[in-house]
Subunit: 326 residues, 4 copies
Amino acid sequence: MNSFGRIFRVSVFGESHGVAVGVTIDGCPAGIPVSQQDFNTDLERRKAGAKGTTPRKEEDAPEIISGVFNDHTTGSPITILFRNSNTISKDYEALRKTPRPGHADFVLDKKHKGFNDYRGGGHSSGRLTIALVAAGVIAKKAIGNIDIKAVLIEAGGNSNIEEAIEQAVQQQDSIGGIIECKANNIQIGLGEPFFDSIESTISHLAFAIPAIKGIEFGSGFTATKMTGSQHNDSFIDEQGTTDSNNAGGINGGISNGNELVFRLAVKPTSSTPQKQQTWNTETESVESFSVKGRHDLCIALRVPVVAEAITAIALTDLLLIEKTRN
Amino acid sequence: MNSFGRIFRVSVFGESHGVAVGVTIDGCPAGIPVSQQDFNTDLERRKAGAKGTTPRKEEDAPEIISGVFNDHTTGSPITILFRNSNTISKDYEALRKTPRPGHADFVLDKKHKGFNDYRGGGHSSGRLTIALVAAGVIAKKAIGNIDIKAVLIEAGGNSNIEEAIEQAVQQQDSIGGIIECKANNIQIGLGEPFFDSIESTISHLAFAIPAIKGIEFGSGFTATKMTGSQHNDSFIDEQGTTDSNNAGGINGGISNGNELVFRLAVKPTSSTPQKQQTWNTETESVESFSVKGRHDLCIALRVPVVAEAITAIALTDLLLIEKTRN
Amino acid sequence: MNSFGRIFRVSVFGESHGVAVGVTIDGCPAGIPVSQQDFNTDLERRKAGAKGTTPRKEEDAPEIISGVFNDHTTGSPITILFRNSNTISKDYEALRKTPRPGHADFVLDKKHKGFNDYRGGGHSSGRLTIALVAAGVIAKKAIGNIDIKAVLIEAGGNSNIEEAIEQAVQQQDSIGGIIECKANNIQIGLGEPFFDSIESTISHLAFAIPAIKGIEFGSGFTATKMTGSQHNDSFIDEQGTTDSNNAGGINGGISNGNELVFRLAVKPTSSTPQKQQTWNTETESVESFSVKGRHDLCIALRVPVVAEAITAIALTDLLLIEKTRN
Amino acid sequence: MNSFGRIFRVSVFGESHGVAVGVTIDGCPAGIPVSQQDFNTDLERRKAGAKGTTPRKEEDAPEIISGVFNDHTTGSPITILFRNSNTISKDYEALRKTPRPGHADFVLDKKHKGFNDYRGGGHSSGRLTIALVAAGVIAKKAIGNIDIKAVLIEAGGNSNIEEAIEQAVQQQDSIGGIIECKANNIQIGLGEPFFDSIESTISHLAFAIPAIKGIEFGSGFTATKMTGSQHNDSFIDEQGTTDSNNAGGINGGISNGNELVFRLAVKPTSSTPQKQQTWNTETESVESFSVKGRHDLCIALRVPVVAEAITAIALTDLLLIEKTRN
């Protein structure tokens, strides 16, 4: 459903071409300084405009509806709205009978019996990640000195991101990428196995980001080719420092104080300028078509700040739960 | 924490060397035929004994405590116990001051201030997966004709599993592997984005399985090297059949009726016969040590049935939630 | 926290004198007709204006932000805002050091360390019940032909409501009352014991309404003075019709098909025009004071529509859960 | 469903005439001393035997399955079993076609399509309150020096309990009663409105206890006959002490540091020795019948310890959540 978190609980709502999208954050402690400017940097990082991203530029100004008073959180739910503007809905009308490959058009139509807001992906649009980013801004403040940094380390299979984007623009076809996210200064003991390990919590949130196809922690899939003696990270001091970090900072689902590391696989944007084929439910035949509208050639460029946001959200919730252990 | 699921809710309890481990399943519809023999096949598949797995063999007979009457589910919580026997706890006494690399010993001691049951990994032991398998048996019955099959497709980087195991035994070092899980006959429309997509739900459960380091759906990490026109699966009929399946049967977090496909990365067993190093909190220095006790050289051999179980659990919960949509 | 419901999940946010108050409804099936006018009747019933209620009249026009498209629910979260206007915040400034008796001022200040929005009760204001009423409007549509009706049956201990209000106005002191709520056409089998019985679910929601001090189902507290043979309702036909209804339509926490009946005790409004005493944290002494601002002399007059709303919300959630049983 | 609590989460399972009933407590902090003897006093208080209670006496010895190690909680789920013995199931066979008035027989049969364990009320039996009492024992230890005390203050409408019981035995008809529960030393600030106020949390749990028909806090239903100036409790010092306690220690759903007070209405036991009437589904007519089996004439005698248990459970959960606020 549309909420996540046991204590620091994030709920999203809204559709791409509706009135607004938004987020409500429940369970945030009172007294955290929050002002409208605090959102600028992360919203800017998520915004369109760089080569390879969509020319749709929205103001993206956060409208704080509740939960902040005198520039501090109040302890009550924080709701933030982002009005939609600059939407060209008629682009999507024609697509109703030709569900776009790779998109949720087909399944949403079936699931909601045709009542879903199909314009621009509706509630399943990447537009919704702005809600995650906003919640991430609050979460980053709530987790104190934990430092989170995500970067795009590979695009289209190429670790030279600029070159990859250049090539995608030239061949007018979308590409994917790999995001690496690292977090430091995490206290030992965060994570609530059996079911709410750090990995379970982060991966649950990660797969809410559109276009994510995989996640791996520490050595990840490479671990499957290693032996135990190669893979194990030896503890070398009382604080639990390890001489390697194949575990990605997690043992048994719980933070061990070393650097948290995970990577996300981002598929190529489903909306590619290339000609594609799909079933036309009116003509009842497979037809060629081209996606119109404004789209990203490499959506992965905009994912790092979202990856940081979901990491901050996950760690904040686990941090608050850990307080109940003492 | 120790429960998962919104309607079909699975809770686990117990420690490896305590009285028993067990599982409670809440929200299971009444009238599903269940007998003690139904558990045999899957419990047998999970059991120790094959080359590369631990010689610890337990009876693993399920004791049905509640929720089953006249060989059918009653609609009330189903609790199943597995008594522990054949445990040699003194193996673990010596390890308290030398936390095993790759294990949760160190973090559990910190998190629970030394009060955790440290014997055999306690509540974080792989022993707990028997609870998942038992819940999976019920779930497989609840999901009707959905067919789930997981196999170990690679061990130690080798797709010839037998050869890989043989080599691990010879070099007396543990190895990892990759599990592939496929499910067919899934109706269109399962999955509850924004947060409870099929991928979020399955990955959340998957990372509860000890030793899992990564998960990918459909094309997964390979997708990051493809273009949109290569990756998109074209719809070719009214039922949503696609000509390829890079999506792994999922669009926008919702089942599209094609085969569900995901893969799990299993790290090499942390307990390897090889000599290792760790911090000794008594001598306050790094020391060499060897793990004693009975352990698997390739724990991945036992994971497929667990992967099926968590898939069945996830799909059952999503199936029941989907019923509320109509 | 600020959400309730397992499937049909209602979340509230906002403060009395902030930008707006609002509600998000998750898990509502798609295809339910909803228009802005649908809210008029119930919002009007809740509104101020009758003798004994506060002269603060707000527009109370619902702003539907999401989840409704082409006048039908989409299956995605429905968010509805109610802008605050006509607020006179300076009334409340002076009260910060003199916490009002019967109000949450004192405890909120302690709980949130002075960061709460204290104006007009902030997030704990009766203003928030507008969110419940809005969710109730949706719920009433979702539950089909279940018919819910709540009325004020007693005010200030008097079953002649008009007379009681008249007297309260004359003596310029606030009074309480008793609400009786009845629901018909409920199918047999709603309710999810052990913990989520109909009574547990309704009472949980009922005590979210400010000023509620008690709840009783069917014969309620009178049952304590009856014998079993007097109290038991005999079944008289195959449909479970009973010859009396001391159970209030509920057996073992589950609807039995007879009329659901419960009553709510509403205390007198805490803000009374009468002179009162409280601790002044500045002068550090007990002082007399009078509440200024606009307040209801009999808040109970406005509670029936809220009681209906929480009943509709509770029954909708239980109805959707019941669908997972089949 | 069968779990309650956000952090300190209590789950119950089992049927009256099945193998056992039990409870799992998740989220309990590690390091709390727990031994088997700790359960004796409260289990004894709940036990049958006094005049007016059923002659069915069970050993009721708690079997601690998990979560306790070296006589302290481990931080992992605590599961406690109570084996059923001394059950005479054939008493209930005859009743299948004649659903007992006041009992859940009829609704459970409909809800679970005849698959429920109908013996002795199955999962809806009062036997399940032993699970609450066991969880309450743990909770009482977890809440530190909060002192909780519940007593039966009225039986059959008579405040002389002994006399009332005597009369019930003589007239061979069951009677109800009123329980009053008080708790002291509660810190200011517990309770999580909007939805999880102290009243919502306690009432939710209270209505899980079979036979409860009503609950009121502080002045309760009497408040409806008072004026605001009579009802308001004036603060008389900095600690929030009030000169009266009509609020029952709660303002705005949050503890104010004064004594918590609530009362429960317990209906007369549905199983009365008196001749009753019900619908016989075989003969398809109303018939007279008498309940056989061993039953309590005044079940209210056994409720005080259960009332204390649910209060302790509610306060523990709210106390742990409050820790996340700081």
